[in-house]
């Protein structure tokens, strides 16, 4: 009898709680779609760190779900739609290849909100976001040119798409701001994640006499080679100092957490809109890992530029900037537009390599 009354009391309590809580206390379901595995120590890993930060920040007010390792093609649309169908009110689709699939699903689910990273198509319920990662690469260019003895850096690129080319150009402009004759050698590995090929590329570059290695690929392999061969290198997406304790000068960090927290808060407050966000170092979306393995002189140069970016007043692509073929890209004093950045498919002056097309 005592037991029964206890159960009844518990039930009543539960009911009371249920009745007392408003609809808003239901956790907001937020979904994420990743292109790689969460264990890649790079791009998808950083998005997942931000997801965890979201859970920590909101506690039981949110419930997050992710689908990892989603290639492009037909699978992307199904993954996005699966999240939209299963009660997720906000879906972050984190790779460029998900743009059209996300747009299609967004049209079918007008009440679900979508956020697509690195694309350019928007709808009433589909926002876009990206980081101005080229800003960090400009700083890396300055670090490289100040620290390098051979005056030559090697750059391992994934694919010649605007996102990558933009970073290379920013790196070159940063390097030229220190040493106008700085050279950059480029190797394309045609993959975002291929430790074997990335390592081979790094070895080839060191053999060609570069003493700084840059990468726009996701594996830590180039860092490991740099460590082995004793040249300077920069990590990608995450702070990978453990892979190159005496070689990593800094690393490009993608910190999506503040943005995700903002956007989820906006959905909770009912103020969410389909915006286009392109956050740089000043927004906290783009960061550099602590400077290590470089002289104080190098640190001073880098920190000064980072401070300029943080104040939000500095644009690396400010004229005069010339294309590789010698024609003018930006007249003296003219700042680049976002459209020009978005579609950038040429090298600036100074590259040895030509851009494959």
């Amino acid at each position: 009898m005592r037991k029964l009354s206890k159960i009844l009391a518990t039930a009543a309590l539960a009911l009371g709680l249920g009745a007392g809580s408003s609809f808003a206390d239901e956790p907001l379901k937020v979904g994420f779609v990743y292109v790689g595995p969460v264990s890649d120590h790079g791009y998808s890993y950083q998005h997942d760190l931000a997801r965890k930060a979201v859970e920590k920040h909101f506690g039981d007010k949110v419930e997050t779900t992710f689908i990892e390792n989603v290639p492009g093609g037909a699978d992307a649309e199904r993954a996005v739609e699966r999240l939209a169908r299963s009660g997720h009110e906000l879906v972050f689709s984190t790779s460029f290849g998900f743009m059209n699939p996300t747009l299609k699903v967004a049209k079918r689910f007008p009440n679900v909100k979508f956020e697509h990273a690195t694309g350019f198509k928007r709808a009433k319920n589909m926002a876009t976001y990206n980081g101005r990662f080229y800003e960090a690469r400009y700083v890396m260019g300055q670090i490289a040119a100040t620290a390098s003895e051979t005056g030559t850096a090697g750059y391992i690129g994934a694919f010649p798409i605007p996102e990558v080319v933009r970073g290379m150009n920013a790196f070159m402009l940063g390097a030229q701001s220190v040493d106008p004759d700085f050279k950059v050698k480029v190797i394309w590995v045609n993959s975002w994640y291929d430790p074997g090929r990335e390592a081979d590329a790094a070895k080839a570059l060191v053999d060609q006499g570069v003493d700084v290695i840059l990468q726009h690929t996701d594996s830590p392999a180039p860092l490991q080679i740099a460590q082995e061969r004793g040249v300077l290198a920069f990590g990608q997406a995450s702070d990978n100092i453990e892979f190159a304790p005496t070689s990593q000068a800094s690393a490009l960090l993608n910190d999506w957490a503040p943005y995700y927290i903002d956007r989820i808060q906006a959905v909770m407050d009912g103020t969410w809109e389909a915006t286009d966000t392109w956050g740089g170092i000043d927004s906290g979306m783009v960061k550099l890992a602590p400077l290590r393995n470089v002289s104080d002189e190098v640190k001073a140069v880098a920190e000064e530029t980072i401070a300029k970016f943080e104040s939000g007043e500095f644009e690396p692509f400010t004229g005069p900037v010339y294309k590789q073929d010698g024609t003018v890209f930006l007249e003296d004093g003219v700042e680049v537009t976002d459209e020009q950045l978005l579609g950038m498919n040429f090298f600036v002056k100074g590259f040895d390599a030509s851009l494959p097309n």
Binding site: N69, G73, A74, E77, R82, N100, N357
Partner: protein, 363 residues
């Protein structure tokens, strides 16, 4: 003391049919143990993986979208494999079929007449056949190993696709991103129902029926099987070795090509650098899991598709990691091969060591 595999003098016809079922049951048991070891409730996890995807219409349609290309490619491959030709390059034929099938929607996108879609299907088939004819030609002319040549052509096809979507076929309004323009409605395969299910699954079923009819009812089917099992006897019967190589490769190339075209036109709606999660390779598994039998391939294709869809569904519903899908597929293959081996062979424990080099146990 050692273990040896000894060929059984006769094997049970019943077990040959039951073996995939047995393998599936063993996979489920091993999967349940795996889930339990990972701290999930095995019943709940297996439900999320294998049954939940079958509980609503959307999910079933998505299953068919996924199974369509697998079945279509596998049915074509079964003809090739039965004739003892090893086309490992269906992925490449799929890719080229997708490319040639996209010529009209990308280069001649103003052409939206009623013949556009039939032409696209035809061009997809021809593209796949053209790509498959390379290993066929090399094999019949120079005796080159078709496993190597067909496989290597996969990579060439993928680089060709890559080149086109990053270069000449890039969407002019796409900010230089590596994607083609979106296909016009006239160049998009008709959908069945209100979801994403499209005519591709019908192509697959037509191919299944056609191949089933050919293999069981026609002289050509007999020729394929004879040339596959006892080529010498086949030659005495007047069958052409070259003819059968060409036939196998062209049929499998056409099927893969149509599958590629249907995937791009029906499911994706544009050319992108990645158009296939490895359908051409998975289809090899489907073909063997289905015992190279068209009807068996339908079930095998649905099962493999379910393992993908179920893996994704379980990620969302119970937070299972994506890697489990791969482990499951690996276990399934392992048990299928294991069961098959034990139907044909028995394990014998041999007490005394024999001299090495003996041919004992080999037929």
């Amino acid at each position: 003391m050692r273990l040896e595999l000894e060929k059984r003098s006769e094997h049970s016809a019943l077990m040959t049919i039951l073996s995939p079922v047995l393998a599936l049951v063993l996979t489920l048991i091993a999967g349940g143990i795996l889930f339990a070891a990972m701290g999930y409730n095995p019943g709940e996890a297996l439900y999320a993986f294998f049954l939940e995807p079958l509980t609503n219409q959307w999910s079933i349609e998505e299953l068919l979208v996924k199974a369509g290309p697998l079945i279509l490619i596998a049915v074509g491959l079964s003809v090739c494999f039965l004739s003892n030709n090893w086309n490992i390059g269906a992925e490449g034929q799929f890719t080229i079929g997708a490319l040639t099938g996209s010529i009209i929607p990308i280069l001649f996108h103003e052409y939206t007449g009623p013949m556009a879609m039939p032409l696209m299907v035809l061009m997809g088939a021809l593209g796949g056949m053209a790509w498959a004819s390379v290993p066929a030609f090399l094999k019949t002319r120079f005796g080159t190993n078709e496993i190597l040549t067909s496989l290597m052509l996969v990579y060439i096809a993928q680089y060709l696709l890559d080149y086109l979507v990053r270069g000449p076929w890039r969407d002019p309004d796409g900010f230089n991103f590596p994607e083609s323009r979106l296909f016009d409605d006239a160049h998009t395969l008709m959908t069945l129902g209100d979801g994403r299910l499209h005519l591709g699954i019908v192509f697959a079923l037509v191919a299944v029926l056609a191949v089933w009819f050919m293999l069981s009812q026609t002289l050509k089917g007999f020729e394929i099987k004879v040339m596959g099992e006892t080529p010498r006897a086949g030659r005495f019967a007047g069958f052409s070795h070259r003819g059968i190589v060409w036939f196998g490769f062209l049929i499998s190339g056409a099927c893969a090509g149509i599958a590629g075209m249907a995937e791009v036109s029906g499911s994706i709606g544009q050319l992108t650098p990645v158009i296939s999660p490895g359908y051409g390779f998975t289809a090899i598994i489907v073909a063997f899991l289905g015992r190279l039998n068209p009807i068996g391939i339908v079930f095998a294709g649905l099962l493999l598709a379910l393992s993908y869809i179920g893996g994704e569904s379980a990620q969302v519903s119970i937070g299972l990691t994506d890697k489990i899908t791969r482990v499951f597929q690996g276990m399934l293959l392992f048990f299928v091969l294991g069961c098959d081996t034990l139907i044909l062979y028995r394990i014998r424990l041999i007490k005394t060591a024999r001299k090495a080099g003996g041919a004992h146990g080999r037929a």
